[in-house]
């Protein structure tokens, strides 16, 4: 069973604010599968301070963090869009439809913010994730060359390309933002 934690409001007792502190849930992230990056505290805080509405956490019935999504909104005019910065579901909670739920929440916020589309980057080798995003209505908009740099982990020694995947929202009924680019781009040319 899943709960989607929503930013809770403060609780006041005897003049002391007792927050149900959402921020502290960061410490419960279980980022130990190799495809989930663990960032510095500062990175998560940036998102929580600037785009709290884009932070969504799924908890199990016994209170463990099963997965989370974080994102932001950015861009001008017809490039105003929601962006998925990180989506993670712990391995033992896969196949429960959590990723879809979390993504739907993020898309909903983007709709309310009148964004034209939602986009995300994914390793080209991560076919499980690519298939999932396709199922959720995303298409490959372009390929970004060597977007991920290799690191010390034996699984990711090489630089790797990313797919930039997009899904249009209701503000882009003709799905203009999803028309794929023919040629791949370099990371520095990604706006």
């Amino acid at each position: 069973m899943v709960s989607f934690v929503i930013e809770s409001i403060l609780r006041v007792t005897n003049n002391v604010i007792l927050y149900n502190i959402y921020i502290l849930k960061i410490y419960h992230f279980r980022n130990m599968d190799p495809l989930t990056e663990t960032y510095g505290l500062s990175f998560y805080l940036t998102y929580l301070v600037h785009w709290p509405e884009y932070f969504k956490i799924a908890e199990s019935s016994d209170g463990r963090v099963m997965g989370y999504v974080m994102g932001k909104s950015e861009g001008y005019n017809e490039k105003w869009h929601g962006h998925v910065t990180a989506l993670s579901v712990a391995p033992e909670f896969r196949r429960l439809g959590l990723a879809g739920k979390l993504m739907a929440g993020l898309e909903d916020v983007s709709e309310k913010k009148r964004a034209y589309f939602v986009d995300l980057f994914v390793r080209v080798s991560n076919d499980v994730a690519v298939a999932l995003y396709k199922k959720l209505g995303y298409t490959v908009y372009r390929r970004v060359l060597e977007y991920y740099s290799g690191n010390s982990s034996p699984m990711f020694e090489q630089d790797e390309d990313a797919f930039d995947m997009r899904k249009s929202l209701s503000r882009d009924p003709e799905r203009k933002s999803m028309i794929p680019l023919e040629k791949p781009v370099r990371p520095e040319d990604v706006d």
């Binding site: 279980r30 505290l41 301070v49 499980v128 982990s153």
Partner: protein, 957 residues
């Protein structure tokens, strides 16, 4: 841009560029070049030079350079900015505020400077000064709303901080008045939220609701609807409007009819509303059946949802009068049958175990298992043509059943049952490995292997087999097999870390820990799996690196959080301000942070070798270490335990119970911290005593403090022996340390040397009126110290006599425990070596006297030196013998495995035996790692022994 041609700007730019590129050495040179050309006039170059020196690690010069800048009052932006970086990076945020105070005095009307000053106060959480500065800003620019609301927020934070009457009678009414005065001028959502925060603090929840419904609500953005709805329900709850709350909760549920938290709130609030209407429920209460049919209605409306089904069980749990075990059983049965092929169903159901009956056979946990068993799919078999999705579903159902039965039966099996079950699980595991998975994916069958591992672990716990490595090894062999099929399964890695440590193998555990990429935020929740083991695995340089990384992470955390606090003010996200402040509290009271900081100081003190005396001083006295005897012993109260004990999945509730008592776990940790910090204070105080003797000829000033410390030591060891702390108690839960650190350390006697060491220094130079004729203590004054060391040594030499062989040794054959003893022995040897060095420090003056006068001191020193050297050498010899035993075993495991076929019985039935390849690999890893640990400790002892042999103590500085 205009300055491009200005040579001075160009030269400064060269410094900035070098700093940005991380080339600090070049930055120093560039800065010095500017200073030469401009005859030292450029304050900015001076500030940048200080920063570059700091980053280059030349701390003393950096501080000197910075104080040169501090002497000049300036409001020059570039200087202030460079110094801000300098202070941030040297963790002196308080000095930023002081600097901007001076700058503002120069330019009182500068909005920029005042803003910087405001942020400087934010960084040190000085809410009062924040308020004053924001008020000045508001007077300068009355049309700018943010400044005004900064001061409202600052008043609110003062109220949060101080609480009590000052908050409720003065600060909060002030904040409310300020916010209300600007009601008509509010133009941002954040301002409305801030107003609501003030009202919430004043518990004016009616006014909160009115605000949400009033004209100000137009400022709330569409994406906040969800949050606003939660807020509204929170206010209703606070106001005790139970019926309205229940209605709102049910309404809320319809938007997410499968959200567990919403179900829980619904049931809770409905029960509360009903009970407040007409007393407690009775059996067959119509209100109860109404609630049940409400749940049923949602179930009917959304067929296939798991939420309503569990909600019925939740209702029983919250309202026991409604619970009939047979109904619970049938609900659990239908839940399992409906959702068995989905992950995590076992944990969903296990939380309702208590609803079943332990007495009535027909509604017992065993009955439930018996009923669902026939419906299970056959054990699947992975084959090339199999329908993979169906296979995973069947496998999941079987796994759920096995996990559920482990949790429901809740007790260890007898040996025969267990062996049969292990064989069944492992064969099913091997038959269901999927081909073609990416290394980042996890084999669905891994959970079977993990269950078999748990069974071996059970066996180790119950069969009084804690002294035997057999079961742990069996588990490790299986895990190694599992990891090769599923290289990124973190559950497998966590189990392996735990078992390797139990077997005294630090290196493979630490390699796996690195492979898990435990860093940053994970240090708080996961770091303990290794940080707690440093002290028991020998004094390892790797351990020191690890502790240092963690300590740095926490040190930087504070700085990062307050930077975001500044951002929250800057962008007006006031809701986040108190949250971030709470986070700073959380970080500074983190158990892991305090633990690693203390352990790091302790270990580095013992390892610091020839510089040990300077080492003690260099480490200074960070507030929490309180290494001086005069400062009070830190209490380590109010620490927050962030360790995640659910890392390793366990289903047996009796094992889980061990982690349920958070306060006991924290108390254990606190006891350890007190023990460690007392040890650290003692060591540090010995140094003080020696230095006092060197300068005055005897111990006078430090004597009382030394006696007080000794008293504390006695009390601590008296409180830590006896029946309450059995020597090697093994915590049953797989995530807990085993044995608990503290009793094991006491059993190994590592603290026992400290009290005699204090006595030794107190008696070293008897006080005398005539300084020149003061005698030196008898050489036998070191005996009690050596006796305690001998006791430790004897315990180790017993192990040695058995050659560390698990098969023959009757006492402590578990290498993890042996290693812990050896580790304590090493700590003691380091302490002996320190005593030796400090003797030389204390007597340095005497040894410099005329030949005749210094003779007794020389004799004394020589005796102490040779006796201490002898002990350290004996300890080294003990380690060396043990190392030889393990060295001889290196490579053997492979030889044994070579040329032997796997034993496979009829029809591929191998009885779930571990693979030879895995056995050989794990055995080899254990041998090598043990050798390495022993080798590293041995090196340390040799260094210490050499120190005493070369007689560094005799007159070296």
């Amino acid at each position: 841009q205009n300055n491009k041609s200005d040579p001075r700007e160009r030269r400064l730019k060269a410094i900035y560029d070098a700093l940005d590129a991380g080339n600090n050495k070049k930055a120093i040179q560039e800065a010095e070049k500017v200073l030469r050309k401009e005859a030292g006039d450029s304050l900015c170059a001076k500030a940048l030079r200080a920063l570059a020196l700091l980053r280059y690690g030349r701390l003393d010069e950096a501080t000197a350079a910075a104080s040169e800048v501090e002497r000049v009052d300036t409001s020059e932006e570039s200087v202030l900015q460079a110094m801000t970086y300098f202070y941030k990076e040297s963790h002196r945020l308080d000095l930023i505020a002081a600097m901007y105070e001076r700058a503002v005095q120069q330019q009182p009307k500068s909005e920029d400077l005042l803003t910087s000053l405001f942020m400087a106060h934010v960084r040190v959480l000085d809410h009062k000064k924040q308020q004053l500065t924001a008020a000045k800003l508001h007077r300068l620019a009355p049309s700018k709303n943010p400044y005004y609301f900064w001061s409202v927020m600052s008043v609110l934070m003062q109220a949060t901080e101080c609480g009590g009457e000052l908050a409720s009678k003065m600060l909060l009414p002030l904040a409310a008045k300020m916010a209300e005065a600007f009601r008509d001028r509010m133009n941002a959502e954040a301002e409305v939220q801030l107003y609501l925060m003030v009202l919430e603090m004043q518990e004016r929840f009616e006014d909160c609701l009115a605000t949400l419904d009033g004209p100000l609500s137009s400022l709330l953005s569409p994406q906040s609807t969800e949050m606003t709805r939660q807020q509204r329900m929170g206010y209703l709850e606070k106001l005790g409007r139970k019926q309205e709350l229940a209605d709102a909760r049910w309404e809320d549920l319809t938007t997410e009819p499968n959200d567990w938290a919403r179900w829980q709130s619904c049931i809770q609030s409905s029960i509360n509303a009903d009970i407040s209407q007409g007393g407690d429920y009775v059996e067959a209460d119509p209100r109860l059946s109404e609630l049940q049919s409400r749940i049923d209605a949602i179930a009917a409306e959304h067929p296939g949802l798991s939420g309503p089904c569990l909600a019925r069980l939740e209702l029983m749990r919250r309202c026991p009068v409604s619970c009939r075990p047979e109904t619970a059983l049938s609900l659990m049965r239908s839940y399992f049958e409906a959702f068995a092929s989905r992950p995590a169903v076992a944990s969903d159901l296990l939380q309702f175990r208590s609803l079943l009956s332990d007495t009535d056979e027909n509604s017992s946990p065993a009955k439930l298992l018996e009923l669902i068993r026939p419906g299970l799919p056959e054990w699947p078999k992975a084959a090339a043509d199999a329908d993979r999705q169906q296979l995973v579903r069947d496998l999941t159902a079987r796994i759920n059943y096995e996990q559920l039965s482990r949790g429901l039966l809740n007790k260890p099996m007898d040996a025969e049952q267990r062996n049969a079950k292990v064989a069944e699980l492992i064969q099913a595991y091997r038959a269901n490995l999927l081909d073609g998975l990416r290394p980042t994916e996890v084999q669905p069958a891994d959970d079977l292997l993990l269950l078999a591992v748990s069974l071996h672990y059970d066996a180790w716990l119950v069969e009084d087999a804690k002294q035997s490595e057999t079961h742990l090894l069996q588990a490790l062999y299986l895990l190694d097999e599992g990891l090769s099929g599923s290289p990124s399964n973190y559950n497998i890695m966590l189990w392996m870390i735990r078992l390797f440590i139990a077997l005294g193998a630090w290196t493979p555990a630490s390699n796996l820990y690195e492979r898990l990429d435990v860093k940053q935020i994970l240090l708080e929740s996961v770091g303990f799996v290794l940080s707690r083991q440093v002290a028991r695995c020998g004094l390892l340089s790797q351990g020191l690196v690890m502790l240092n990384n963690t300590a740095m992470f926490y040190k930087n955390n504070w700085r990062d959080i307050v930077e975001h606090l500044c951002t929250a003010y800057r962008i007006g996200n006031f809701r986040k301000v108190p949250e971030l402040v709470a986070l700073t509290d959380r970080v500074s009271s983190s158990l892991e942070s305090v633990f690693c900081g203390l352990e790091l100081r302790h270990q580095s003190l013992l390892l610091s070798g020839p510089n040990i005396v300077e080492g003690v001083y260099e480490m200074g006295a960070p507030p929490e270490s309180s290494s001086s005897a005069e400062s009070p012993q830190p209490a380590f109260d109010g620490l927050v335990d962030g360790r995640d004990f659910r890392l390793v999945r366990e289903f047996r509730s009796d094992l889980l119970a061990a982690t349920a008592d958070a306060s006991r776990l924290l108390e254990d940790e606190r006891a350890w911290l007190l023990y460690r910090s007392l040890g650290l204070r003692c060591v540090s105080h010995l140094t003080r005593m020696a230095t006092e003797m060197a300068s005055t000829g005897s111990v006078t000033k430090q004597a009382d403090a030394a006696r007080a410390l000794k008293q504390q030591l006695m009390e601590q060891s008296a409180g830590s022996t006896g029946d309450s702390l059995p020597a090697f108690d093994i915590e049953p839960h797989p995530c807990l340390p085993y044995p608990a650190c503290l009793p094991a350390h006491f059993a190994a006697g590592s603290q026992a040397l400290l009290a005699p060491a204090i006595d030794y220094f107190l008696n070293l130079l008897p006080p005398s009126t005539d300084n020149s004729s003061a005698g030196v203590a008898d050489a036998s004054s070191i005996d009690p110290l050596l006796e305690s060391f001998d006791a430790q040594l004897a315990a180790v030499e017993v192990i040695n006599a058995d050659g560390g062989s698990a098969a023959t040794a009757p006492v402590e054959p578990l290498f993890g425990q042996q290693l812990q003893r050896l580790s304590c022995l090493c700590e003691s040897a380091c302490l002996l070596s320190l005593v030796h060095e400090l003797t030389a420090v204390a007597l340095a003056g005497k040894l410099a006297m005329s030949k005749k006068q210094r003779r007794p001191y020389e004799t004394f020193c020589r005796t102490v030196r040779s006796r201490i050297g002898d002990r350290i050498n004996r300890a080294a010899a003990a380690l060396e013998a043990l190392e030889a035993v393990w060295k001889a075993k290196i490579g053997q495991a492979w030889t044994d495995a070579d040329g032997q076929e796997e034993t496979v019985g009829v029809g591929g039935d191998d009885g779930g035996q571990p693979k030879r390849r895995c056995r050989a690999k794990v055995d080899e890893l254990l041998c090598q790692s043990r050798c390495r640990c022993l080798g590293e400790m041995l090196n340390l002892l040799r260094v210490k022994a050499r120190l005493s042999e070369t007689g560094r103590a005799g007159g070296a500085t």
